[in-house]
């Protein structure tokens, strides 16, 4: 994958300064992967800043790693100050974690990147990027790259692929999803990569789970995926990392985006656009609630 050299150099300079000045203890960014493309990297030493890269292969949402930095390494210490590289989609997850009081704004230095959309190994624009119009992160301390002067329209309607599912009669739709869930191996990659999935013990993984046992069978997979989607309703920032990491190719973003649209139409709320709590959790049942 071709490096974006000017941006890569800017990124390294910023990271080096942040580490040299002691402003942060660690920069979470991307490095070149030995398999081609990019992978997450944690830079602690300014002399290591040259490992950082920026390219159209920087797919990962690094905000998920901020959960590992919430606690100090040792008792009686403070949690570390961390810098994190974010794309517009990733940056929305920062707002979610701020609103849900998972991270402290002053401990996170946000290196925003103006994003032109990502590509797969063949140079094809990612489906998620074809639906996205955001070019500038919603939150940042420094912005790298040139934001475009005017926003171009998305290549694809955000929900066009949902229509195919919604046209199906309910029985066919259920059959479609059960067929997809059947391939799931319950590896939890979708949950682990998700910045919004941070429960200490997932309710779907409890030893004494009331609702679902540990079996890797269709009923448990069905409950897990629908349950996870509901837990993210109004919180999912549509980074679509869950779908990317799924080894069995489950079209998980269809579930998430269906709920995104639902919450948007009921509450005019899009997760992470600003630092507000999910109204679906807090406005339910009050007078004036759309439900």
């Amino acid at each position: 994958m071709q490096l974006d050299e000017p941006l890569t150099l800017q990124l390294r300079d910023h990271a080096r300064q942040l580490l040299e000045s002691g402003q942060v203890a660690c920069v979470v960014g991307y490095e070149a992967s030995p398999r081609g493309g990019a992978r997450p990297v944690f830079i602690y030493d300014p002399t290591d800043a040259d490992r950082l890269i920026w390219s159209a292969a920087c797919v990962h949402n690094l905000v998920t790693y901020l959960h590992d930095k919430k606690k100090p390494l040792r008792r009686n210490e403070q949690p570390p100050h961390v810098a994190v590289v974010v794309k517009p989609c990733d940056s929305r997850a920062i707002n979610i974690l701020l609103a849900e009081q998972q991270i402290e704004r002053e401990r996170v230095f946000v290196i925003g990147v103006a994003c032109e959309g990502l590509q797969d190994e063949t140079g094809e624009r990612l489906a998620r990027c074809s639906r996205c119009v955001d070019r500038v992160p919603v939150v940042f301390d420094v912005l790298l790259g040139e934001p475009p002067e005017s926003l171009s329209a998305a290549d694809e309607d955000e929900y066009s692929d949902l229509a195919r599912i919604e046209e199906m009669p309910p029985a066919d739709r259920l059959a479609f999803w059960l067929h997809e869930f059947d391939r799931c191996i319950r590896c939890y990659a979708c949950r682990q990569v998700c910045p919004g999935c941070y429960c200490t013990t997932c309710m779907f993984e409890r030893d004494d789970g009331l609702w679902v046992d540990i079996g890797i069978e269709l009923p448990q997979k069905h409950v897990f995926h629908l349950g996870r989607a509901l837990h993210l309703a109004g919180r999912c920032v549509d980074c679509e990392e869950c779908e990317r990491v799924c080894p069995m190719g489950l079209p998980l973003s269809l579930l998430n985006r269906s709920l995104t649209r639902e919450v948007d139409s009921l509450y005019s709320h899009r997760a992470g656009r600003d630092e507000t709590l999910n109204p679906l959790l807090f406005e339910l049942g009050e007078e004036g609630s759309p439900i």
């Binding site: 602690y44 002399t47 290591d48 590896c187 013990t201 079996g215 069995m248």
Partner: protein, 345 residues
């Protein structure tokens, strides 16, 4: 050496699916993924494929296995085991995956007492291998003593040759399965598989022990780990499981309970959590270190074989590119720069 034409091979596979005695499990196309599945017709069997995305270990260590059914009626308690007596023919097994079974055998069969469930399946399984014509992306079987056409752990090994397949009979069990397959004697030359010269260094358990405190390696590679279970679930030798009882029916006077055992993975956050809530392996680098020490130090020390066969699945499936080959090279060199944020404890 024997030889079978493609047409006769299909006929034989079809016959196996029709015989009541056998369940035929083979690689097939599942929505664009190559996976081992019980198949209904020999025509579904893929013959031209690379590395199925999951190993066939599910056939011997099912992802979910009902070990026992317990039914309670008043004071009466009845326990039932539900193991099937059918023989399963695993067709299209890659030599590395057969090697994986041999690795699991060392624990499940080699210990006293053996694992009764695993043994039950193992005794009723015939392994028909299909040699890889080459090493695929990320494969390193040759570093673990294997080869793309290694017959060692199989009952039969097929190699694609002009016009059909050369059949190598490895065991009696394999020979018996050939009844009904039209074979010819064959004197042709076997094409050697395409292998890569570079290897991955595999240290001895003693060397691993001496490197245990090298926390920088694990911090460097483990910090980006997601703590998912993907690498363990695609692995042909990872064999950890969890056991639980679940109530499947509860009505007046009758309770039915199943005891199940289910795949588990040491990379997951709560794998090591003990009663009372303490988790002695609370960090990602610590868990990644355990994964590697299990494979290359503890398992060979305790049971003999190294717990890796070089199939490369964990490399190609890891969402954040934790690369077992890269880690093994770093461990062998132990020359990482000290700049990875120090220790993880």
């Amino acid at each position: 050496m024997k030889f079978v034409t493609l047409g006769d091979l299909r006929i034989w596979l079809n016959r196996l699916t029709l015989e009541n005695e056998y369940t035929l499990v083979a690689p097939c196309d599942v929505d664009g993924h190559v996976l081992y599945r019980p198949i209904a017709s020999g025509d579904e069997v893929l013959l031209d494929y690379q590395r199925p995305e999951l190993s066939p270990k599910d056939c011997l260590l099912p992802a979910t296995e009902v070990m026992l059914q317990i039914e309670k009626r008043g004071d009466e308690v009845v326990q039932k085991e539900l193991l099937s007596d059918r023989t399963q023919v695993l067709f299209g097994v890659r030599p590395c995956d057969a090697h994986g079974f041999a690795v699991m055998d060392a624990l499940f069969l080699g210990q006293d007492p053996p694992d009764l469930y695993y043994r039950h399946h193992r005794e009723r399984t015939v392994l028909v291998g299909l040699a890889c014509p080459q090493m695929w992306e990320a494969c390193f079987c040759t570093s673990l003593g294997g080869a793309p056409d290694d017959p060692t752990h199989l009952d039969l090994l097929l190699r694609e040759v002009d016009g059909g397949y050369a059949v190598e009979v490895v065991t009696e069990r394999g020979s018996a399965l050939l009844d009904g397959l039209t074979v010819q004697e064959w004197e042709g030359e076997l094409p050697p598989p395409v292998t890569r010269a570079e290897t991955v260094p595999i240290l001895s358990p003693q060397e691993w022990r001496s490197l245990f405190e090298e926390e920088r390696i694990w911090k460097r590679h483990g910090e980006r780990c997601l703590s998912c279970r993907l690498c363990a679930y695609v692995c042909p030798t990872c064999r950890c499981f969890d056991v639980t009882d679940r109530v499947v029916e509860e009505r007046a006077g009758v309770t039915r309970i199943e005891r199940i055992r289910v795949w588990d993975a040491c990379t997951s956050t709560n794998y090591r959590r003990a009663a009372g809530g303490h988790n002695p392996r609370p960090t990602k680098p610590g868990r990644l270190r355990n994964r590697f020490y299990c494979k290359f130090c503890y398992y060979p020390e305790d049971f003999g074989p190294v717990g890796c066969v070089g199939c490369g699945r964990c490399i190609v499936s890891c969402p954040v590119d934790v690369d077992i080959g890269e880690v093994l090279r770093d461990v062998a060199e132990a020359t990482l720069p000290p700049a990875c944020g120090g220790t993880f404890r």
